[in-house]
């Protein structure tokens, strides 16, 4: 069954064999290349992190390169004084929780309904949803449509359009089709209605796939930038975290002003802030939630990659 597919790396790869000189050279080279590339992948995060917890004067001079010096967490405490940031955090958390929950519920229910052959004109409606993956009207018509619906400068613009995710519906549908029909049939015999069957039988059984779409949906929501950029042009209080960070990165001088003007900032801090440190700290604070859920995500990767492959 599909849900059993995890990357079983233990059994993967070719069988063992006797190694010759070429093989050893190849292995050493291979391991070296992968080690270096892995380092390149992780080092920037490490670099950002050590710079946020080090002495700010040293950071300003660019002296923190490989290990932290003068470890302290005052920079993270200072984030409280960057006023717009808290707002963006709240907006992003709200959209991640609410948007993901609604998307998962809708995808689960819709995925279940399209497995019901009795649904009136089932294949027509199913196609109606699936086609939307392969075309879009373009950025500007989409924007004008949102404008027309009153979904600009409006928090619900983050939530409502994301409820319908055709590819997730397909994933759920495929998964539910692999659940033995007898379970559902016996529930029907007991007099359960569609919604009861969905809640009591389908939903618990489909949890692996629902968890997959939930976690990828949540990361997508957390990383969302484009909709905020285009739809919230005159509502800075509704910027998502990524958008807020983008604004900060674009305007270093503005950032200095925020810090200097920040009321309690100078008292809280033991060492002086500079724009570099603030940028690093905000970036790190934005990355950390992803890094925290990352270990839990890994077992959903195989299903997730298929999700990514089609969504492009």
């Amino acid at each position: 069954m599909d849900n059993e597919v995890t990357i079983n790396i233990k059994e993967s790869g070719p069988p063992r064999f006797r190694r010759g000189t070429t093989d050893i050279v190849f292995d050493v080279f291979n391991i070296a290349v992968f080690s270096i590339f892995s380092l390149i992948c992780i080092f920037p995060f490490y670099y950002l992190f050590i710079n946020t917890i080090s002495d700010n004067d040293l950071v300003g001079k660019g002296l923190i390169n490989f290990y932290p010096v003068g470890i302290n967490l005052s920079n993270y405490l200072a984030l409280r004084d960057v006023s717009d940031l808290g707002n963006s955090f709240l907006v992003t958390i709200a959209r991640t929780v609410l948007g993901t929950a609604l998307m998962v519920a809708a995808s689960g229910f819709a995925g279940y309904l399209v497995t019901k052959h009795k649904l009136w004109h089932r294949s027509l409606w199913y196609r109606f949803l699936v086609i939307t993956m392969y075309f879009n009207a373009g950025l500007i018509p989409w924007y004008l449509n949102m404008l027309m619906l009153g979904l600009t400068n409006n928090f619900w613009a983050y939530i409502i359009p994301g409820i319908i995710a055709p590819y997730n519906i397909i994933l759920v549908k495929t998964y539910i089709e692999s659940i033995p029909k007898e379970l559902e049939e016996s529930a029907i015999m007991d007099g359960a209605g569609t919604i009861t069957i969905f809640r009591k039988i389908i939903w618990p059984l489909a949890k692996p796939i629902l968890a997959t779409i939930a976690i990828f949906g949540a990361v997508g929501n957390w990383n969302s930038f484009q909709d905020s950029l285009i739809l919230m042009q005159s509502s800075p209080e509704l910027y998502t975290l990524q958008h807020r960070l983008y604004v900060y990165l674009q305007s270093a001088s503005n950032l200095e002003a925020i810090m200097q003007g920040g009321s309690g900032a100078s008292q809280v801090l033991t060492n002086s802030l500079n724009s570099k440190v603030v940028k690093y700290t905000i970036s790190m604070a934005t990355i950390l939630p992803i890094l925290l859920v990352y270990p839990f995500m890994q077992r959903f990767f195989v299903k997730g990659i298929m999700l990514g492959a089609v969504k492009g």
Partner: protein
């Protein structure tokens, strides 16, 4: 024989009344859709109200409809009360439409349920009428203003359409109710399962319609002379002007040529390096230590989950003038004297973007191949070993051939998406110096449409892109079918 008979018996006969029912339902669907279209908004009693305001917006957001009228209120040209009346009327019409909608849904049930549904829709359409009267009153109040040129009172044609629809629904509901009186009603309200399931599915259909199909209606902007805040009227219709403009205006032609060059080069580089994840997977699975393999996978997949904005933040930390790399170079005895600004410079922009893309995506893209390698039948390896294949022989004759189908599908999808590079990466990395090299089609549409506000032109470009992309997708699907006998969509 027997089966056919029962089928005939089960299928409901199409009677004239059923036809009337379908007409009634379609009318209700139409009344519902009208709420979203500004063109049908009966509540645009002044041209100062945004041309984007649909009836729904009028009923939901007071600040939305009055945003251009602040001065009119303070100067006393119009009364705020008129607009409050307008908003309340809109809410009344919306609730009437909702009632009609409930009635329309219930009309799919048995006769008893239909009766209740018809009562609902009769009540709903009757409710819409006072709402329309309210809008008319609000209009007549606004029309008596002493400053018509500042307020621009407007009597929307949507008013007539709404009135006609409301009256028609009312008449149909009442006459169908009369027809039901001749029937013996069932004990309980029931609905056939197929319709019940359909009604549960209806919200998804509606959402998909609103957010995926409705934007197509925006393609009409391509045929009008339109600036933000203006209106689409007969006088602003310009036919194919903007399509010709795209090919005749020399500045635009130059832009398009440049943007297409960037798009195709970056997509092309992506296609050329599209085998890298496969190689990554093959070489990674050749490593014996499982712990090392897992560690590499864990570390190389992280960047995929980081947004482009954050990657730009990382790029700043590493490559900016006061970043890691410049700091490191300045410590070297033979390092460069001055700091190098890698991010600002326009040198090798395409290669840099490619490398960022690879850095972000390769570990993730390799997973699908790693899973495929894990699924190879071990007997194949054994057979190859017996035939005398060494390590590289097995890679060449077993691993690669078994990965090629996957690679092929992904390659075709990449070809279909050759015009869609997305804009986030290029937007965050763009600056004054590298702009000429980095602007891809998606970013160009954003720049001219959202930033410069040239809506018709950007719609034309977006339209062309969408059509070409769909054509490419069909071509890719055809190619897949011809070569492998499988659809990819």
């Amino acid at each position: 024989m027997k089966k056919e008979e029962t089928e005939i018996r089960l299928r409901a006969p199409i009677t004239p009344v059923m036809t009337v029912y379908w007409f009634y339902r379609i009318l209700i669907v139409f009344a519902f859709i009208m709420m979203f279209f500004p063109a049908f908004n009966p509540g645009r009693i002044s041209l100062k109200i945004s041309p984007y305001a649909s009836l729904l917006t009028t009923g939901v957001s007071f600040s939305g409809i009055t945003q251009n009228l602040g001065r009119a209120f303070t100067q006393g040209w119009v009364q705020k009360g008129s607009f409050i009346l307008l908003m309340i009327s809109a809410i009344v019409i919306i609730s009437g439409s909702v009632f009609c909608g409930i009635g329309g849904c219930m009309s799919l049930g048995n006769n008893r349920m239909r009766k209740r549904g018809l009562q609902f829709s009769a009540a709903g359409s009757a409710l819409m009428l006072p709402g329309l009267v309210g809008i008319f009153l609000a209009y007549s109040q606004v029309a008596t203003t002493e400053h018509p040129s500042r307020i621009e009172p407007n009597f929307s044609s949507g008013f007539y359409i709404y009135s006609a629809v409301a009256i028609l629904i009312l008449i149909l509901s009442l006459s169908l109710l009369l027809w039901l009186r001749t029937k013996v009603l069932e004990e309980k309200m029931r609905m056939e399962e197929k319709y019940a399931l359909f009604l549960m599915f209806l919200p998804m259909i509606a959402l998909a319609f609103v957010f995926a199909y409705l934007p197509l209606w925006g393609w009409r902007y391509a045929f009008f002379d339109y600036t933000a805040g203006g209106t689409l009227g007969r006088e602003s219709f310009v036919g194919l002007k903007w399509f010709r403009f795209l090919f005749q205006n020399s500045a635009t032609v130059k832009d398009i040529a440049r943007v297409m060059r960037n798009t195709l080069i970056m997509s092309g580089l992506g296609l050329i390096t599209s085998w890298l994840p496969m190689a990554f997977a093959i070489f990674l699975t050749e490593i014996r230590s499982n712990r090392f393999k897992r560690l590499v996978q864990t570390l190389t997949t992280i960047p995929n989950f980081i947004s482009w904005v954050l990657i730009y933040a990382i790029a700043l930390a590493i490559f900016s003038t006061d970043g890691f790399l410049n700091g490191l170079l300045s410590m070297l005895p033979f390092g460069p004297d001055s700091q190098i600004n890698w991010l600002m410079s326009a040198d090798n922009t395409w290669i840099k973007m490619l490398l960022w893309g690879i850095w972000k995506g390769i570990g993730w893209s390799a997973i699908i191949y790693i899973a495929a390698i894990a699924g190879i039948d071990p007997q194949l390896y054994e057979a190859a070993t017996i035939d005398g294949a060494g390590r590289f022989g097995r890679i060449r004759h077993i691993v690669i051939p078994s990965l090629l189908p996957t690679y092929f599908v992904l390659l075709l999808m990449a070809i279909a998406g050759i015009l869609s590079n997305g804009m986030e990466q290029y937007l965050v990395f763009s600056n004054a110096l590298n702009r000429d090299k980095i602007e891809v089609l998606d970013l160009y549409v954003y720049n001219i449409g959202i930033t410069d506000g040239r809506i018709p032109l950007s719609t034309v470009v977006g339209m062309a892109k969408s059509l070409v992309s769909v054509a490419l997708l069909f071509f890719a699907n055809r190619a897949s079918k011809a070569l492998r006998g499988e659809n990819i969509i």
